[in-house]
Symmetry: C2
Subunit: 226 residues, 2 copies
């Protein structure tokens, strides 16, 4: 889902989001940020309890400039984050191992997004149901129509967090190694070993009656580079 | 690398590391924690600056009960973490999308490790060189012998962090969906779509002279489930 037409094309960098190391790898364009977020399934949510940082992996999804994630009402992460404390949400895709001619210039190709903000719980039951449907269909397009929607009790037991994307940056490294000038004369191989997420053949639940075919929603699941 | 022979088989759970949601998914065995850490390339390091959490992705490696990560001396993450502030390091592998018969019971298969502690910079140049070699060869076995070691200046420009694994837990979900009893009668397909990281064919640096073959270290790179 794109941002409304009057949305600026880029997030303004702030002191926290301005990429200082390798500033040429930094990006603030909505298009770049959106594409990295939309290519991922899990984010890492950072929050603080009594001075101690916690980093919890969780599934997320995006609608325009809103980032959502969910979980059990019993989750420490969601109980804490739901209080409106500052959070940092990071999404990272590793795209390759960069093999330079020196140990020092070895690197990784990656795409990452870091978003700062405060999240709030989605309270309204209908809104909660709507965004959970969007999440389900985002992962497996059409899956909501194939499966049972949540009961009222299940909706109550599900916490959905919403955070506005405002203070956001992306960082991207692509391409071959950048070696020191003199090292290009070394005789060793140098380049990139690409890394990719793949989906394997669906594995049926052993409790599924024989003859139930893999559904179209499950066949429609896509991952990785959008 | 395994722990010394007198190391207990498990990390004792603490109030912070005890897995509360789905306690059956929690694991504290060194063997489980080690295998999850050793299957990964990047971790997410959480730290706090003036109450604000930051979550930074970075490459890491393990030796026994020591976790290492590195980066530029100019990195905000390393400058902060090097001061000995509390950190949380999380490593996550997504292994599958779990498609249940209800929206509510959809899930993910994953393996994750969360480690709390304080990191310290490796100061000694020789020790730094040794662990950087171990890291390089961990990613691409034998690569240190094929490429140029760091100069003194490069060593100085590299920060290496070390954190003892002490307060650590793993969380693992495997297997098919766990649906509500009544939902098993629904006619929809249910099961798991496995997700896997793969390496593609090495891509030579365009600046590599023609005829240099992919080296044995690069061919030896392995990923994912050990």
């Amino acid at each position: 889902m794109d941002a409304p037409p009057d949305t600026p094309a880029a997030f303004g960098p702030t002191p926290r989001t301005k990429v200082k190391r390798y500033p040429d790898r930094g990006a603030y364009d909505r298009e770049v940020v959106y594409s990295i977020l939309d290519a991922g399934l899990i984010c890492h949510v950072g929050y603080v309890i009594e001075g101690q940082p916690f980093v919890t992996p969780t599934a997320y999804w995006r609608e325009g400039d809103l980032l959502y994630w969910h979980g059990s009402a019993a989750s420490r992460m969601l109980r804490t984050v739901g209080e409106g404390v500052p959070v940092c949400v990071t999404v990272t895709h590793v795209d390759g191992i960069v093999l330079a001619r020196s140990w020092f210039d070895n690197s990784m190709n990656y795409r990452s997004v870091m978003a700062f903000g405060r999240a709030e719980p989605v309270q309204d039951a209908e809104e909660k149901r709507r965004v959970l449907a969007a999440f389900t269909d985002r992962v497996a397009p059409g899956r909501t129509a194939e499966t049972r929607p949540p009961t009222e009790q299940e909706l109550k037991a599900t916490f959905v967090m919403r955070m506005r994307l405002a203070e956001v940056s992306a960082k991207v490294r692509t391409g071959p190694p950048r070696d020191e000038e003199a090292d290009y004369a070394l005789p060793c191989w140098a380049g990139v070993v690409p890394i990719r997420l793949v989906l394997d053949e669906p594995q049926a639940d052993p409790l599924l009656p024989p003859g139930v075919p893999v559904s179209s929603a499950v066949r429609a699941i896509r991952l990785g580079t959008p």
